[in-house]
Subunit: 351 residues, 2 copies
């Protein structure tokens, strides 16, 4: 019986490199008129954006055991997330994605069907974000799964937003809510340990759909970029939240050479996140300030521009930009002011 | 004594992700006027090429134990090669490189100094090929070293060369000589086994500088692209030789829907390659036809265009394109014709 089930899976080595690439890329749909040639030659060929636009280029790598655990990460979600976190970088420059290339290093022990699952997630994300998958590399690896995505995007030259443009008096804003991805990670890690220790004990994941989704399948906030554009508002600075709010606030303040006052009470936190934090004896704010992988957008806008925002419910004002000499501060819930500590998620830092 | 030596090395975890990125990228020189913003924000910002030009985008991943062995690959050479093989893909489209992004997954056990060595090779190659390093990602990995490079290039729209444009009557041409990288690999693999078995026995690498260089530090043939441009010649099809000549000839013939007659006697082979093949009981042609990683250019040109080539010594004519019905053939040294077998290097295929 078990043998029969195993036979459904095709070994990667059966197809070889060229066969595998053909198999994985034959279902690709191209949506961008600028894609002249996608997969199938030594390089993709792309029409440059119109005069007055600039190109944006970014890359993000995800490694098994560091950025994800295969024990609880569905491969399809993993493929989706690899694209979404790159789209998020393009959003953080106030741009829109156009093309991606994907490189995957995978053990020869993997089945073609498991790579298919990863590619299903990749294709789903590419369609959602209108980013054409135009190339890639699939290689065997002696070790874990590594997915590297490089993304190309574009935006009108005068609308590029750097981390460095925040000015004293600007409002500090964030999209969505924070800390949910970390709450989801905590639940999944707990479930993994529980399953390992006692197979009879069921992990409690029901009722936590929101935080699990934020961890496993975060969405890039292309809707915020579109809304800002429709409102004719260009943020003065922007960054996406991959390492935790406090870390990103520091990045913006350091790049812009300004200070800031973050109001803890205004940081938006989802009720499921609050529940997970409390169940684990932590304050929800800790999740929101230091939990990574939210992929929400942190940005600053001038007060005059705030009036122009057409959907103000999509934007949470959480603080104000100050002169550099005022420091990078947080007004805590107890009313006291402290310097904002950086406790971002840092994959390379010794724990 | 040993402890004192170990102390020269800095653990990656000491710097953390941001510190490491800063350390690795602070020495980067930018040479392309189109690079508006390199490393340091969520994405690089690049001015698109001029009207009438197209962009080229390609990616290549190298994994430890599959594409390289750290026992005999100097890290600096590895960094160089990771860039060069990507530049080679841009050359194969008849383009010039402009920007690269580099992602590296590395064990936390690595020292900062070893990453510095990789980056020295990367910076050296970027300078040589005038490709700006504008971004990247460095992540820890539970497993081996993985380097993924994505490259952006450009070329005038009417000068893009695909694999698919070869016509019957075209000359089949190749740059440089073939099989040398495989000969170098063979020597290095032998040396590794010898060292493992008997530390007293010295591997014989002296007098093999050419083939070792071709394996460890292959150069992308930007000089061929420049010479073709100066000669006002646009090949009808082109590919770079990464998997072996016979495999690439098949790629061109299949994409162009043509046949071909390859003349074995005309395939250029370096004297060191011949020596290594003979010492190992193999025919040199086997190395040239099936050895991978030469990174020479295989291209087809019309006979009329051949007259225009200003430096004909840089181009070896090794065959002719035929109608599809004539098949993909090789005229062997014994005067007999055979179908050209594909025995390319294929990292994922079962050996």
């Amino acid at each position: 019986m078990e043998e029969a089930e195993v036979k459904k899976y095709t070994e990667i080595s059966k197809l070889g490199e060229f066969g595998l690439i053909k198999h994985l890329t034959e279902k690709i749909e191209l949506l961008q008129p600028s894609t002249l040639k996608g997969v199938g030659d030594d390089a993709a060929v792309i029409t440059p954006p119109a005069n007055g636009e600039v190109m944006l280029l970014s890359t993000d790598m995800m490694a098994e055991g560091i950025h994800f655990e295969l024990t609880y990460t569905p491969l399809r979600h993993l493929g989706y997330k690899a694209i979404a976190v790159n789209v998020s970088d393009i959003c953080a420059m106030n741009g829109e994605p156009t093309q991606v290339v994907v490189s995957i290093a995978v053990s020869n022990q993997y089945s073609v069907e498991s790579l298919d699952e990863i590619y299903k997630g990749i294709r789903f994300a590419c369609k959602e974000y209108k980013a054409d998958l135009v190339g890639g590399d699939t290689t065997s690896s002696r070790s874990g799964l590594v997915i590297d995505v490089t993304i190309l995007g574009k935006t009108p030259k005068e609308k590029v937003v750097y981390r460095s443009g925040a000015k004293p008096g600007d409002l500090l804003c964030v999209s969505g809510d924070l800390g949910a991805a970390y709450a989801g990670l905590l639940l999944l890690e707990k479930a993994r340990r529980t399953l390992g220790a006692d197979p009879a004990e069921k992990p409690e994941l029901q009722g936590y759909g929101y935080v699990l989704q934020k961890q496993l399948m975060p969405r890039a906030r292309v809707d915020i970029i579109e809304m800002l554009r429709n409102s004719d508002v260009v943020p003065t600075s922007m960054i996406d939240i991959s390492d935790g709010l406090s870390s990103e606030v520091h990045h913006i303040c350091e790049a812009s050479k300004v200070g800031c006052l973050l109001e803890e009470v205004k940081v938006p936190i989802h009720e499921e996140t609050i529940k997970v934090a409390q169940e684990n004896g932590a304050t929800p704010s800790l999740f929101a300030l230091s939990g990574g992988e939210d992929y929400e957008l942190l940005f600053t806008i001038s007060p005059a521009d705030y009036q122009k925002i057409k959907e103000p419910t999509m934007v949470n004002i959480i603080g104000e930009i100050l002169p550099a000499e005022d420091g990078i501060m947080i007004a805590a819930k107890d009313g006291k002011m402290h310097p904002l500590a950086v406790q971002g998620w840092d994959g390379l830092k010794a724990k």
